[in-house]
C-alpha cells in the first residue's frame, strides 16, 4: 500500500473518530446514516462495479433484515444476540431465492431484480397484519448483548463505525482475491471466462448471496438506528439510491459508495430544509451524474490528479 494511501486512511479514521464532537447530535446521526447506507451501496456495488450486474432489489434484503430484527425484538421480546443474526439470516435467505435472477443478464436482470424488489415492498405494505403496513414496526429497543447496551447515539455511532471498518476490510480482501478477479473477468468477458474453465453462473450466484448478506447487515444496523421500520425501507427509491450512491462516489472502489452516500444524504437533508421538491432534485442529480460524471467523485479526482501529473511532466 502506498504511503499516500496510508496517510489518507489515517486522516479519514481520525476524522471519523472526532466527528461527533464536531457535528453534534445532528451530525452524528447523519453520519451514522451515511455509514449504514454506504454499506448498502457497497453491497450493491459488489455486483455492479465488479460483476457488472445492475441490481435494483437490494432494498429488499435491507428491509427484510430490518423488519425481522425489529419484529423479533418488539413483538416477541427476542434478545439482540438472536434477533440481529436472525435478521441477517432472513435477508440472506431472500438473497438465496432472488439469486435466481443471475440466470438472466443485461436488461432482463435489471427488470427482474426491480420487480422482485417491488414485490417485497408490496408485501410489506399490504400484509399489514404482520408488518404493520404503513405504520410499520415502532419502538425498536436499543441493542443489548449481555449486560451491555448501546443506549446513546454516540455509542451507536462508534459501534456502526467499527462494523463499517470491519466490512470495508473484508470487502477489500474479497475484491483482491481470486474470487474478486473472477467477477471482474466475468464483467469483462463472460464468454471468454467459460472457455478458460469458469462457470460464471456459479460465481455470480455466490456474489449475489454475499451482496445480500452485506445489505442485510446494513438493514439490521438500520433497524436499531431508526428504531422504526416501515415499507419505505423496501421501496424502489432505496434501491435506486443505493446504486446512485455507488455511482456518484465511484464504482468498483471501497470509499466510493460511502462518499456517494455522504453526498446524496447530505444533499437531501440540505435541500429538503428549504425546497419541497427534493425528489425532483434527486431526479436531476441522477441525470447530471450519469450524463457528466459517470465515474463519480473518485473518477473525477483521478482524472484531475492524472492531468496534474501530466502537466508536471511537461513542465
Amino acid at each position: 500500500m502506498t504511503q499516500r494511501r496510508k496517510i489518507l486512511i489515517v486522516v479519514l479514521l481520525a476524522a471519523a473518530l472526532v466527528w461527533p464532537f464536531v457535528g453534534g447530535q445532528y451530525g452524528t446521526s447523519l453520519m451514522t446514516q451515511i455509514f449504514i447506507f454506504g454499506m448498502l451501496a457497497l453491497s450493491a456495488d459488489l455486483l455492479l462495479g465488479h460483476a457488472g450486474l445492475f441490481s435494483l432489489c437490494h432494498a429488499a434484503f435491507f428491509s427484510v433484515a430490518a423488519y425481522t430484527t425489529a419484529i423479533l425484538q418488539v413483538r416477541y421480546q427476542v434478545p439482540t444476540e438472536l434477533a440481529a443474526p436472525a435478521g441477517i439470516l432472513m435477508g440472506t435467505s431472500l438473497g438465496l431465492l432472488f439469486g435466481l435472477s443471475v440466470r438472466t443478464r443485461g436488461v432482463y436482470f435489471i427488470l427482474v431484480t426491480l420487480a422482485m424488489g417491488y414485490v417485497i415492498w408490496g408485501i410489506g405494505y399490504r400484509w399489514a397484519s404482520f408488518t404493520g403496513g404503513d405504520s410499520g414496526v415502532t419502538n425498536v429497543p436499543a441493542p443489548s448483548v449481555g449486560g451491555f447496551t448501546l443506549s446513546t447515539m454516540l455509542e451507536y455511532y462508534y459501534f456502526v463505525l467499527a462494523v463499517m471498518l470491519l466490512v470495508m476490510y473484508v470487502y477489500h480482501r474479497l475484491i483482491r482475491s481470486p474470487f474478486g478477479l473472477t467477477l471482474r473477468g466475468i464483467k469483462s468477458g463472460e464468454a471468454r471466462m467459460r472457455s478458460l474453465g469458469f462457470s460464471p453462473p456459479r460465481h455470480l450466484y455466490t456474489a449475489f448471496i454475499v451482496s445480500s448478506f452485506m445489505a442485510s447487515l446494513a438493514g439490521v444496523l438500520y433497524a436499531y438506528f431508526n428504531k422504526f421500520v416501515n415499507p419505505v425501507s423496501a421501496s424502489l427509491h432505496v434501491s435506486f439510491e443505493a446504486v446512485l450512491m455507488a455511482l456518484v462516489g465511484g464504482t468498483a472502489t471501497i470509499l466510493g459508495p460511502f462518499i456517494g452516500a455522504g453526498i446524496i444524504l447530505g444533499l437531501r437533508n440540505w435541500v429538503s430544509s428549504f425546497f419541497e421538491l427534493h425528489l425532483a432534485v434527486m431526479g436531476l442529480v441522477f441525470i447530471i451524474v450519469v450524463t457528466w460524471a459517470p465515474d463519480g467523485v473518485i473518477g473525477l479526482l483521478k482524472r484531475f490528479i492524472d492531468r496534474r501529473k501530466a502537466g508536471a511532466n511537461h513542465g
Binding site: Y108, L111, V119, I123, R126, W127, L244, L277, L284
Partner: protein, 288 residues
C-alpha cells in the same frame, strides 16, 4: 363460480390496461434497445392531464386525447434532451429515465396534490351492464377491455401485415442491417417512441378512471408492465399480449384469494420463467 368469472373479467380488463403500457415499452426496447423507466411517469402525467381536461370540459374523449398528447410531448422532450446521449448503456438509460420519472412525479404532486383522484366518466360509461348468465359487470371495464383488444389488433395488423411493421420487426431482429438497407431508421424510432408514450398517456387516463390517479401510481403500473414484458419476452408484441393476460389474471385471482399477499403472485411466473426460460415466452436470445 360467479366470483371466479367476475375475477376473470377483472383480470382481463387489467390486462388490457397493462398491455397498452407494456406494448410501448417492449417495442421501444426491441427497436431501440432503450429501457425507458419513465413510461410510468408518462402514464401518470397523461392521467393527470386527462383528469384536468375531463373536469374542465366533461368530455372523456378529449381527456383521452389530451392525456395521450401530453405524454407524447413529455416523451419527445425527454428523448431529445437527455435520452439521445446515452446510446446503449442500459445503466445510464435506467438512471436517467428514473430521474425523469422522479421529476415528473414530484412536479405532478405539486400541481395536483397528494390525494387519489378519480376521473369523471361520461354517463354512458358509468354503471353496469348485464351479461348473459346474470352477471353484472362495470361498463367501463368492458369499454377498457374493448380498447385494449382494439389497440392490440391494430398494432398486430400493423406489425405483421404492413411494410412499416416489417421494417420494425427487422429492426428488432437486427438494427444494423435495417439501417444498412436504407430504411429511415431514425424516423422509425421517432414514430415508435411517440406511439409508445401516446399509449402510455392514454392508459393513464383510462387507469385514472377506474383505479384513480395518485402519487406513486407511476411505479406500481410500471412494475406490473415490466413483469408483463419479462414474462412475454422483450421486443415481442405477442409476448406483451400473452404476458399481460397472465399477469392481469394472476393479479385478479391473487387479490381475490389472498389480498394481503397478492403481490406474491407476481413472483410465481417470474420464478418459473427464470428457472426454465429466462428470456421470456417469446423473447429472442439476443435481446440483452
Amino acid at each position: 363460480m360467479n366470483s371466479f368469472i367476475l375475477q376473470t373479467f377483472n383480470g382481463i380488463s387489467y390486462a388490457a390496461l397493462l398491455f397498452l403500457l407494456a406494448s410501448g415499452f417492449t417495442l421501444t426496447f426491441g427497436l431501440m434497445r432503450i429501457v425507458n423507466m419513465a413510461h410510468g411517469a408518462y402514464y401518470l402525467f397523461g392521467g393527470y392531464v386527462g383528469l384536468t381536461i375531463a373536469k374542465l370540459t366533461g368530455n372523456f374523449g378529449l381527456a383521452l386525447l389530451a392525456g395521450g398528447l401530453a405524454a407524447m410531448l413529455l416523451g419527445y422532450v425527454s428523448d431529445r434532451t437527455v435520452l439521445r446521449r446515452v446510446g446503449d448503456d442500459h445503466l445510464a438509460q435506467v438512471l436517467i429515465t428514473v430521474g425523469i420519472a422522479y421529476i415528473v412525479g414530484d412536479v405532478s404532486l405539486k400541481i395536483w396534490g397528494g390525494d387519489a383522484q378519480k376521473l369523471p366518466l361520461p354517463l354512458f360509461l358509468r354503471g353496469v351492464i348485464e351479461l348473459p348468465g346474470g352477471i353484472v359487470y362495470p361498463t367501463f371495464r368492458i369499454f377498457l377491455t374493448a380498447i385494449g383488444i382494439g389497440v392490440g389488433v391494430l398494432l398486430w395488423l400493423i406489425y405483421r401485415r404492413t411494410q412499416i411493421g416489417a421494417a420494425i420487426r427487422a429492426g428488432v431482429d437486427d438494427r444494423e442491417m435495417v439501417s444498412a438497407t436504407g430504411i429511415h431508421v431514425d424516423r422509425l424510432f421517432v414514430i415508435i417512441s411517440a406511439l409508445a408514450s401516446f399509449l402510455a398517456g392514454v392508459s393513464g387516463v383510462l387507469g385514472g378512471a377506474f383505479l384513480t390517479v395518485f402519487p406513486g401510481a407511476e411505479w406500481e403500473i410500471l412494475v406490473f408492465a415490466l413483469v408483463v414484458v419479462i414474462v412475454g419476452g422483450l421486443g415481442s408484441l405477442e409476448g406483451a399480449m400473452i404476458g399481460a393476460l397472465i399477469v392481469g389474471l394472476l393479479d385478479a385471482y391473487g387479490r381475490w384469494l389472498a389480498p394481503e399477499l397478492s403481490y406474491f403472485v407476481l413472483f410465481g411466473p417470474m420464478a418459473v420463467l427464470l428457472l426454465f426460460r429466462p428470456r421470456g415466452l417469446f423473447g429472442s436470445a439476443n435481446m440483452t
